[in-house]
C-alpha cells in the first residue's frame, strides 16, 4: 500500500454497502459483548476471559461437528449450554472469591484466559480450523450493488434475537427481577430472601453461555484458532464500559462503534479505522466514565 492510496474517494454505492457491513460488525460486537454486559452490569466483574468463552463456543462447535457430526445450527444452542456450564464452574471456583476486589478479578481472569488458550492449543493444536456451515448460509446476498454474505445477515438477526431474549429474561421473569434486585442492592435483596450467590452464579453462567453461542456463530464466519478470543475481548470491553454496563447502552454503543469502524475503514483501511476508534473511545471514557446513558458520577 502506498501513501497515495490511503484515502478512498467517496462514492455512494460502496459507501452504502459499507454502512450495511457496519451493521453486521455492530451485531457481532454486540453479541460478543452481550454476555459481558450482563456480567459487568450485574456483578461489576471484569472478565478478561470472556474472549476465551467465545473461543470455547467456537471449539465446542467444531468438536461436536467434527467428532459427533452434529449439524451447525444445532451446535449453537448446545454451545450455549456447554460454555454456560464452564462459566458456572469458573464462577464457583474463582470469581466468587474475588467479588470485593475488581482489579484482582481482572487479573485472575486474565490468568484463566491464559490457561484456556494454552489448554486448547495443547489439545487441538494451534492451526486454524474450519467449521462447516449449512450451504445456504455460505452464499452472498446480492441485490444491485449490495454484497452481503448471508451468514452476516443471519448473525445480525440472531444477535437481535439474543438481545430480545436477554431483555425478556431480565424484565419478564422472576429470575430477572432477582438479578436486577441484586444488581441494585445486594444487601437489601438478601433481606428479601434472594440468594445473591445463586444469582451471581447463574448470571455468570448466562453471560458465559451468550459468549459461547456467539463463538459458535462466529465459527461460521471465519476460521477458528486458540487465541481468537483475544481479538474480541478489548472491543467487547469497550462496548460494555462505554455503554455503561447496561444492555441498551451496549446496543447503542455497538451500533455506533460498528458504523464508525466501517465508515473509517471505508475511507482509509481497517487498522487505521481501529486506531481512530480506540482513541475516540479513550477520550469519551475520560469525559463520561459512567457510560452513555448512566447518570453522572462526577464529583458531586
Amino acid at each position: 500500500m502506498s501513501v497515495h492510496d490511503f484515502w478512498t474517494p467517496f462514492s455512494l454505492e460502496p459507501f452504502l454497502n459499507a454502512l450495511l457491513i457496519g451493521l453486521s460488525i455492530a451485531s457481532i460486537w454486540l453479541v460478543a459483548a452481550l454476555g459481558l454486559t450482563i456480567i459487568y452490569g450485574t456483578m461489576g466483574v471484569i472478565n478478561m476471559a470472556h474472549g476465551e468463552f467465545i473461543m470455547l463456543g467456537a471449539y465446542s462447535t467444531w468438536v461436536m461437528q467434527y467428532f459427533i457430526g452434529i449439524p451447525w445450527l444445532l451446535c449453537l444452542p448446545l454451545s450455549f449450554i456447554i460454555v454456560g456450564f464452564i462459566g458456572w464452574l469458573v464462577e464457583r471456583g474463582l470469581i466468587r472469591h474475588l467479588y470485593e476486589r475488581p482489579l484482582d478479578t481482572l487479573l485472575a481472569t486474565w490468568g484463566v484466559s491464559l490457561v484456556l488458550i494454552q489448554s486448547i492449543r495443547l489439545i487441538f493444536g494451534g492451526e486454524p480450523q474450519y467449521i462447516d456451515a449449512p450451504s445456504w448460509l455460505k452464499t452472498v446476498m446480492v441485490i444491485d450493488f449490495i454484497h452481503i454474505p448471508w451468514m452476516r445477515i443471519f448473525i445480525f438477526f440472531l444477535a437481535l434475537a439474543l438481545v430480545a431474549m436477554t431483555i425478556a429474561i431480565l424484565y419478564r421473569t422472576n429470575m430477572g427481577i432477582q438479578i436486577r434486585a441484586v444488581m441494585q442492592n445486594k444487601e437489601m435483596a438478601a433481606s428479601f430472601g434472594i440468594n445473591s450467590k445463586r444469582v451471581y452464579g447463574l448470571t455468570f453462567a448466562y453471560g458465559a453461555g451468550l459468549a459461547g453461542i456467539s463463538g459458535a456463530m462466529f465459527s461460521g464466519l471465519k476460521t477458528i484458532f486458540p487465541d481468537m478470543g483475544l481479538g474480541y475481548v478489548v472491543e467487547a470491553f469497550l462496548v460494555v464500559v462505554t455503554g455503561g454496563g447496561e444492555v441498551f447502552g451496549s446496543v447503542a454503543t455497538a451500533g455506533i462503534m460498528g458504523q464508525m469502524l466501517s465508515v473509517f475503514s471505508y475511507f482509509t483501511n481497517e487498522t487505521f479505522g481501529h486506531f481512530v476508534l480506540f482513541v475516540l473511545i479513550v477520550i469519551f471514557l475520560r469525559f463520561r466514565p459512567q457510560g452513555i446513558f448512566t447518570p453522572s458520577m462526577a464529583r458531586r
Binding site: M1, S2, V3, H4, I46, L94, H97, L98, P102, L103, D104, L106, L107, A108, W110, G111, V112, S113, L114, V115, I117, Q118, S119, R121, L122, D227, L230, V234, F237, L238, V241, N269, T271, F272, H274, F275, L277, F278, V279, I281, V282, I283, L285, R286, F287, P289, R299
Partner: protein, 368 residues
Amino acid sequence: MQRANLYHDKRAQWAVYLLFFGILAIIPLSMDDPFTMNQYARYGVFGMLALSVSLVWGYGGILSLGQGIAFGMAAYGMGATMQMQYQDPVNDPIPSFMLTNELEALPTVWEPFWNTSVGIILAVGVPVVFFIIFGILMFQARIAGAFVAIMTLAMLGAWYSMAYDMQPFTAGFNGISPPSAFTAFGVEVDPYSNMIYWVSLGVLTVLTLGSKALLQTKFGTIVQAIRDDPERARFLGYNVAYYQIVLFALSGLIAAFAGLVWVMITQFVSPTSLDIFFSITFVIWAAVGGRMSLFGAIFGAMFINAAQSYVGDEFQATWLIILGAVFIVVVRFAPKGLAGLFEYALSFVPYRVRETPQSRIDVSSQSE
C-alpha cells in the same frame, strides 16, 4: 529495642540489591558464549519492564496494562535511529522497506533520526511526553482502578493498529530490521558480545537503584499514601493527580529505556512490541515476583523467562498453563507474590533493631 522484620531493614535491602547486581555483573567473566550473552541481555530488558510495572502498580496503585506503549514507541524510535545509522545520506538515503512501499523521499518524521543523539532523545522522550499527556487525561479526571486498566489497554491497541497500518513509515507487520548494530561514540555495540550484556545490565542497575532511592524519599512515601487513600492525601494538601502523572511518566521512562535496549539486542522492531498480550505479561512477572518489591518484580521477570526458555518450545503450552495457574493463585492468595512469601518467612528470623528516639522517625518505614 524493638522486634522488626529484617526484610524491612534498609541497609539489608541495599546490600541485597548491590550484591545482586554485583553478581550479575561478573557473570560474563565466567562464560564465553555470545549467544547466551544476548539471551541474558534480554532478561535485563524484561527486568526493566517488570520494574516499570512494580513502580506504577505496586507503589503507585495504578494498574496500567499499557506499559507496552512506551516500550513499543521507544523501540520504534531506536529502530529508526539504528536504521538511519546504516543509511548513507548521499548514496542510500532511503530504507529499503520504504522503497518497496513506493516512497520517493524520506518522510519528514524520519528526518531527525539521521542524528543519533536526537534519535535517542526522541526514542525516550516521545513516550514520556505521551505518558504525561495520557496521564493528565486520566488522572485529572480521577479515573482510577479498572478504568485505568481498560483505557491503557485500549490505547495500546490503538498504537498497535497504528504501527501495523502505517506501512510506509513503520514497515507494517514486517517490522524494521536495521542491518547494522548500534554504534555510539565510534563503538559498535555487538548484540552478541559481553558488551551488550553489560549495557543492558548497566541500564537496569541505574534504573533500579534510582527507583529505589526515589521510593525512599518523601516523594516515595507520598505516592504510597496516595495509593492507600487518595482522598486522605488530598485533604492533607497534596495534588494527587500531579503525583500520579509524575509517577506514571517515570514508569513510562523506564519502559522506554527497555524498548531502547531491546532493539539494540534484537536489531528488530515490529508491531509485536506493542502487542497487548505481551504488555499484560509484564504485569504477570511483577505480580508473581512481588509487585511491592522492585527486586521481587525484576527477579520474577528473569526467573519466569529463564524457566520459559529452559522448558523449550515443545512444552511452551504446558508451561504457560502452569504460569497462568500460578498467576491465578498469586492473585487470589498471595498478592505480594514471591517477595511477600519471603517477607513472611523472614518474620520468623529473630531480629531486633536498636534505635535512638531520633532515628525512630527515620527508621520506621515499610517501603522496600
